[in-house]
Amino acid sequence: MRIGVFVCNCGTNIAGTVDTKRVASEALSFADVVYATNYMYTCSEPGQQEIQRAIGEHGLQGVVVAACSPRMHEPTFRRAVEKAGLNRYMFEMANIREHVSWIGNDREANTQKAIDLVRMAVAKLRFNNPLFSSKMPVNKRLLVIGGGVAGIQAALDCADGGMDVVMVERKQYIGGKMAKLDKTFPTIDCSSCILGPKMVDVSQKENITLYAASEIESISGYIGNFTVQIRKKATYVNWEACTGCGLCTEKCPSKKAADYFNEGLGAARAINIPFPQAIPKKAAIDAQFCRQLNGKKCGVCAKVCPVQAVDFEMKDSIVTEQVGAIIVATGYDLFDHSAYGEYGAGRYPDVISGIQYERILSASGPYGGHIRRPSDGKEPKDIVFISCVGSRDASVGRPYCSGICCMYIAKQAILTRDHLPESNSYVFYMDIRSPGKNYDEFVRRAQEEYGVQYIRGRVGKIYPRGDRMVVQGADTLLGVQVEVEADLVVLATGVESSAGAGELAEKLRISYDQYGFYMESHPKLRPVETNTAGVYLAGACQGPKDIPSSVAQGSAAASKVQSLFAHDTIETNPQVALVNERTCISCGKCIQVCPFGAIQWKELRGGIKKAEVLPTVCQGCGVCNATCPPKAIQLQHATDNQILAEVNELCA
């Protein structure tokens, strides 16, 4: 093999602490190396042309580039050598920047290490073989998991593009957290007025199939060909028949069911439609509170239902859908402030969370949009808002900033003044984080136009005095202790990952961070992709986000899906396992260990069984390779010979 070695200076990033010239001249002494040089910026256009020129001029059959991490520029250089007529897998990279020049200052030791790494890369390359992708068809249907605003945006974008979309939502309605909001910052748009039409679109588009009150049971397959099992939870109401008339709710005798939509501020009936604009507008029974389902005599709803939709015998059912791509938009949950003992740990009815206050403000909320406090229904006069409850606080395991709380407090304080012009609002804050468009102006308006008093400092304690709450805190700007008597305290509870995010991630085989937020493929350059091909992220499941960012990410994920679906076929990754049938001893161990079910039996003539890899299913992990007793199954591009060749060079 004729091998060319290109050592990159990366400006001074590498050349600063590595003698790249010496690395190149040493490389010339390695077996099969016929050409070696160093170059200022190998990844630049002229740098790539230099490689292509050398391939032609010196008849190179393999190329080694010693530069940055292959996680950075391997695809770039593979394309470059391919353009010059080489197979893209006849290329290796030696990482002499992240692993050498950036982590040590000793020029001699660095140079020696760089020479070793190049020698290893050359040794591996000598065992490389050209590999070729095959093509497989793409099923142009999309699955959207989560029906919040991000998921809705993604689903509508793709449906507008003519694709079939399947949407799965855990709750019985779509709209997510945004459906619960009264107004949105910084424009004070009515939340349900801007979200409502989109929700209606989802239900009316013929190419969107909506599964509400459903969860993902299992996912198998791979990009272009996923098989998804969806568990439709028993709602005890036949939604095909239900017209959403609401008669059942009216007559239901179980009047103290939990009102999840109103965050526990009101009481719901056991059979209900969560809110008037709900999509789908169908009733469901909360089994926990239904008299009939708990063995008591009732069945009133079944009697009054004009279309006989109520079915107490209903069971969960499983439906199977075939899709080609998945957008995960499972959103977030809000921090449970009972972790804060100093704020009453949830014992005081007049210390409420931000989302509860949002329901109080909402015209469709438990108090019809009149601000009253939960304990006695009185109009509050003094209202205290406390920011960073479950944000930027390592003591409760939430060291990150939730990003939205500063803004929603300012919005709620402004709305409070609009509703109750005589009231006083106080905000205890650590810092004001308002980096969005028109956000800081909005906070300023709260302070200047609406007279909201901002006090910089933490609250140490909240306790009752008479029928009011005393908020004790510090004003760190004035350096004094402050005490505010309030009728109502609103805690700006922060964002946390959605319950069950981890289990879903395992079904999707995507990774999540220590807080349960899904990890994007690259924090800057691949913000909506995951490390599992064909699975994309949108909205707050990836990290705390406000509505504009969630919508933007929903559209971004949709555009990724559309560019995938623009092709009828996709190229497979040829770095997969391959069985040598002559040495396979038919033990079947590889079949047992493969995490993807990518290996199966193949019957040869005479009834002999041998293992066979399905290249489209194989993900290239190599567990089978390490398991195989006679090493008959080899992971292409990371064979035993290739890995040992690298080690060999070090042992020499």
């Binding site: 395992e506 993900q619 190599g622 390490a626 040992l644």
Partner: protein
Amino acid sequence: MTDSSPRSSAPADQTAANTQGIKIVGFLCNWCSYGGADTAGVCRFKQPTDLRIVRIPCTGRMDPLFVAKSLIYGMDGVLVSGCHPRDCHYAVGNFYARRRMEALKLFLPFMGIDTRRFRYTWVSASEGQQWQKVVTEFSEEIHRLGPNPGVGPRSGENSKISNGLR
């Protein structure tokens, strides 16, 4: 490939001169630990230069014989690093790796190899600082142990790792 003589089986001597040529090989999974080592580089976390990293797709790809062969043929230390348990890019590869590495540890003494020369660890792609810590600690440990006396092949046998594992 050409043959060359094995490293001399010098007794473990801990003088500075003898620890100069210490060589450690690291087998890092592409998704987590290799990324973690990249992150450490991007953050300019300084580390000892003895480590040479081999990129593998997953720690599940690690054949215990890679470790054994490296140590038998004279590497002074072997480090294996992958994704944290439950965080494997391939779902379960690191579980297989963990079992195999634990079993390997039991066998190393029978081959005359100090188990302290082999270590496996979990470092995610974001844990640059953790990677710096792992490399620094392991390098220090190997420097304390000095060069690997090796149990290389007897004279006349092929002195290099034969290609392939059989």
